[in-house]
Symmetry: C2
Subunit: 511 residues, 2 copies
């Protein structure tokens, strides 16, 4: 980018903008003011940068400062920052504010027309008619504001000397970022004051996800993903687990049923893996001792619920065990406590940000995860006066009740309930609701084939899997958990769609 973008180039960019006509009429800025750029001695201090100048043609050597890196130490320095024009507030013909946002930080930029600063009234006008969310470069001097600001970088503001628009947003965005970032509490408060504030519905948010993603809480939620995954991998790698990749495209088997996505693979019936279960077990048979796997899981469910997605990120592990699935429990215990600790200590600001829009109480967990038998769980329910069938599976309501009673008695939301009847689900773990399930697996082909048949599976369709256990297979067990479910429960979000960048549900395949 040269420091003097010619107005003619700006116009040619606008020529391209057939559906951006509202924005196009605003440039060159000076025109709206009844003057021309030629009459403005500071015309080179502002304007639209033509796309040709940002096409990897030259390196200017200039250095940009990140909005998030601005602090009081920078006061007095001239900086160059790039960000989105989140808010634009004209004060007078001679003064305006532009709040620039980059990543999770914002800074207030001040334009005051004066010959000394090299700022003309045309330039102030240019800034005030920028469309919101346009990408803008600002050069200016960092100063300490006289009063506290709304921007996240509250300590400093920028006294603008130059301002260039890098890429314009359309004049009227389909959703307003301010509306999308509003909390229930703000809405209620406004309503009580007789004021009606706009709120953006879940579906509308998802339709315009690229805007919705810019809200502080969405930025935080999706960055927490990274933190959980990072800790998940770090912990398991420290225990010598091997990260593996298992195929998502698998031969179609009779077990699939309605919940499986079917397709043709070079003419052969195939489907998308509903879990990496068979393959992580085969990896154990393949001599990998203990493995983990992070990858998409596909479930072709028809019903819309607040906690199911058709595509989600599975965190799976499988490991040799010597005698007992308690060996798996120990890994789950260490792993999840380390994840929770990491979030609590290292993601404070992100959790506060989420809390700002979606208030929640922090998840309670113990240093050493509580383990209760199914019987003990039932006993607690009975003592609390809940009627329950003796050896039946716990339904969601009963599960929640156990969760509540455990919280009261042991002060934890996270515990392991094990020794399930019928050994159908030998153990699982739940904070309030079940999130992790796991078990010891069958390691002999005979028993596997027998149980498969009992469950109505045509074992011929999974023969490669079953045969793997006849080539020498160690006893093993493992667990699986959905990343989105962990985020949802840790942050007590009311809808799993909030935890996925581009969620897939039965009705949603775009964007």
């Amino acid at each position: 980018m040269s420091s003097e973008p010619p107005p003619s180039s700006s116009a040619s960019v606008d020529d391209l903008a057939a559906d951006l006509s509202a924005a196009a009429t605003l440039t060159p800025a000076a025109a709206a003011d009844g003057t021309t750029a030629k009459e403005d001695p500071f015309a080179s201090h502002y304007g639209d940068v033509p796309i040709e100048e940002i096409q990897s043609k030259a390196v200017s050597g200039r250095s940009w400062t990140k909005v998030g890196d601005l602090d009081e130490g920078a006061a007095g320095r001239t900086v160059l920052v790039r960000g989105a024009a989140q808010a634009i507030r004209p004060v007078s013909k001679k003064m305006a504010f532009v709040v620039l946002r980059h990543s999770m930080s914002t800074v207030q930029c001040v334009l005051v027309a004066s010959a000394e600063a090299g700022v003309s009234t045309q330039m102030v006008k240019f800034a005030t008619v920028l469309s919101k969310e346009s990408i803008v470069d600002v050069e200016g001097v960092v100063s300490l504001p006289k009063q506290s600001l709304k921007a996240t970088t509250q300590q400093v503001e920028i006294q603008v000397g130059k301002i260039y628009c890098i890429n314009r947003a359309i004049q009227t965005l389909p959703i307003n970022l301010e509306d999308a970032a509003r909390s229930e509490a703000e809405l209620e408060k406004a309503e009580q004051a007789g004021e009606k504030l706009a709120c953006v519905g879940q579906d509308t948010r998802l339709n315009y996800r690229t805007i919705d993603l810019r809200t502080p809480s969405n930025q935080a939620v999706l960055r927490i993903h990274t933190s959980i995954l990072h800790k998940f991998r770090e912990f398991l790698l420290s225990k010598d687990f091997v990260g593996i990749h298992t195929p998502k495209l698998i031969a179609r088997s009779s077990e699939g049923g309605a919940a499986v996505f079917k397709l043709l693979y070079n003419g052969h019936p195939a489907c998308l893996a509903q879990s990496p279960q068979l393959y992580k077990q085969m990896a154990i048979c393949g001599g990998f001792e203990h493995v983990f796997k992070v990858g998409p899981i596909f479930r072709a469910k028809n019903s819309e619920t607040h906690k199911h997605l058709c595509e989600f990120v599975g965190l799976d592990a499988e490991m040799e065990i010597k005698e007992h699935y308690f060996e798996v429990c120990d890994i789950i215990d260490g792993l999840f406590v380390s994840i929770f600790k990491h979030l609590t200590t290292n993601c404070k600001k992100k959790l506060e940000t989420i809390n700002g829009q979606y208030p929640f109480e922090p998840l309670k967990y113990l240093e050493k995860t509580l383990k209760l038998t199914y019987k003990e769980g039932i006993q607690m329910l009975k003592e609390a006066g809940t009627k329950i069938e003796h050896m039946g599976d716990l339904n969601t309501k009963a599960e929640k009740n156990v969760g509540r009673l455990v919280r009261e008695k042991y002060d934890t939301d996270f515990f392991i309930l094990y020794c399930y009847p019928l050994a159908v689900r030998p153990f699982y773990v739940m904070p309030c609701e079940e999130i992790i399930s796991g078990a010891q697996r069958i390691h002999t082909p005979e028993l596997l084939a027998k149980r498969g048949s009992e469950c109505g599976i045509d074992v011929n369709t999974i023969s490669a899997y079953i045969e793997s256990f006849s080539y020498g297979a160690p006893p093993h067990g493992g667990f699986g958990v959905g990343l989105e479910r962990v985020v949802m429960l840790f942050c007590a979000l009311n809808n799993i769609r909030k935890t996925s960048m581009f969620p897939r549900d039965p009705q949603r395949l775009v964007p």
Copy 2:
């Protein structure tokens, strides 16, 4: 597991083994010897452990030692190890060797019949007739061998006191691990000596992948995956990149063509993402500054080649850029040099292991990656007497030639060739062959729609993507690379199938 497995229980396990009859006739071991278990005072020191005893019923408190952890310091100690019986060598009625393998380590176990050791001839017999690859527990005293051994744990062996079979393999495995682990050099040497050794073809290996995976080179190759990924993530996280997940299930667009897997999504035409390109760009539009993504990529290619898979692991990154894709090049440079260094320094043993079966020269790279313009590349070819069309794209042969010339002149296999004509492929990186491709992307909706149309894409099918750029989009660029391709080239493997745990090619969907 109790310390005294009753022979009757062993029999009941074998009853289950309808198709394991060959193995079944061998237990209880004593029977084959014409004696009965009752006559053997050490009958409790060996036998098959019934599956009921390894069903998470009890925790014995015994402690297992890992084969890989055995060293001279353990000499004199009694240890309990679990592993696969990789080799079984009877010496006499009173003596036998069993080589136990676990993960990437092996140890030789010695059985010598003596009242003092509690070992009977029946027990020696039991060990010698175990099927290869059966999972075995051995308890014994660690000793220093008199002569050097073939096992990886060459410093020590185990004087067996007890041996139990945990899970039997079938008597005749479909492929022999020893054959699968053999190098070309061994085969040639044997042939020269007039001996014919079995070798296992690529397809047969993949059919019985759970056995094939146990070869030292496969163990090493797939663990190198983990190392590459770990460094990929670590480097990008250190640069504040955010790990994201993008949907694999996407609406079917007209650009798909033949190479796309099609399916129905709740009745709507959908397909599997051939790359995360559109979504990682939308993440940038969503305010994430710089993102990376590790996940499966699907390509429904029909032709079989040595370097293409229908499903592979994509390593993708996308980032805001200020002016020039050199900013992306800098990330690629730092990232790949750090990965190569990590492999060279921390994966020495694994690389040696691979080298043992598939010899290769280490990849050459520079501390600061060499950047050459396309013109300079062409010039080098011309000077070397290669005829080449002036501004045409480099074909594979010409690419390889540039690679060879660069290696001769600059002593590196890894360099960045940039400034491609027509800006079609503004730059890419190659060690010998192209492995990484990347570019600055278009950040305005108008130019995007224009270029899309020029490329024959019905832009209506990707309107959500294109519209994202009208809501305020910063200039950005990125790159993508296949994990399997990186492993293949770093280890100079001749077939990409060797780098995938369960590869998918046009003909292969199982196991």
